[in-house]
Symmetry: D2
Subunit: 119 residues, 4 copies
């Protein structure tokens, strides 16, 4: 993981959308649909694949390219929604991790995949 | 949109997961499922809402908090998958935008929401 | 809505899967992924479309065909999962409607799209 | 799998919706979102579970109840969309299976989980 110039990347995405006059279609509702559609296209790649094989994406150039394209789509719609709702992604993650630290205390959650209401 | 110290944020997420020994559940396949689930929880917020209302998230503190929490979940799983597959999100977006620029040339795509195969 | 010979339809689906020796891939987990993927392909058709237009599917033969294909995929995976988990779909719907009748009493829910925990 | 009186079940669902005056929210677009949300809630049950365990749903009464509730939700939205678009689910499945028989000929697809464009 390396740092990204998010400001610049976001500007490029906004310019791409503006050039095509697509903002008229990009209500937050529609963008949330598109985000799910792209996440779902990512999972389609793995739907019949054993878990162990899904961890070896790096070894297969063609597979890695497909995963990369779907991650890109998810990231673009995520940035669009964050921008349109005025939500700061870093603050959002920090806040959610604090909530999760309470919901999933280490003593209870360690090595356990259950949801917090079933811990 | 402002810049994020992604390296630091990613380290905090990894530490959270490591403390709970959750990496054993986090195959790329499972993470892709979780990403869709979180994207879908975001869209659930908007499923019965008129589009225009979905653009006013900023005005409603409670709604904004719910959207923020779901965006955070999506972002966390996106970063986890990118990290596990060795995919650079910035390069992925640039590559996908180049492909999309060819699929959706401005002259054809301007003001048009059709998919590239129906342009 | 007309009645379907579900027993026969289900047998045809099972035969299709058996001929291709696909049952080995069809764990309930994988089938649940495929179900979401197909549902998501259905919603992709509508993601940039105004709501009013989505109600006119019947008038557009090509659009209707695409919707029909995605509904078919969803139905097939739904039947497969019901069959593999031994769940009776009719009983499941009746049980869920009883729960929903309690969660959404007419007096509170009438003309209201809020989730039960926000009524 | 046993036969269902779909006509009667569908009438009960329609009555439930009419009593609550919910049809105003149920554009085909919104129903397609709800369908994905429910499919996604089903897959959430399995997201950290090994595939083999997902095949044992019948043995765990509590788990089986949760799966049953989610399947019911998916079925209800599927019936609503089919009804609103005038699509006959049986004909839709038969038509899709004919298409799939061509896309996935037994000789090529047997024991193979690849998508048709990669066979």
């Amino acid at each position: 993981m390396r740092n990204i110039d998010l400001v610049k990347l976001h500007q490029e995405i906004e310019a791409f959308v503006a050039e095509r006059d697509w903002d008229q279609f990009h209500s937050v509702k529609n963008l949330s649909m598109a985000l799910t559609v792209e996440a779902s296209e990512l999972q389609e790649i793995f739907q019949w694949m054993p878990e162990a094989e899904s961890n070896l994406v790096e070894r297969d150039e063609s597979l890695r390219g497909r995963v990369s394209d779907e991650l890109a789509d998810v990231f673009v719609y995520l940035l669009r929604i964050a921008s349109k709702t005025g939500i700061d992604l870093e603050a959002a993650v920090r806040s959610k991790m604090q909530q999760n630290a309470l919901k999933y205390p280490v003593a209870l959650a360690r090595g356990n995949s259950r949801k917090y209401d079933q811990l």
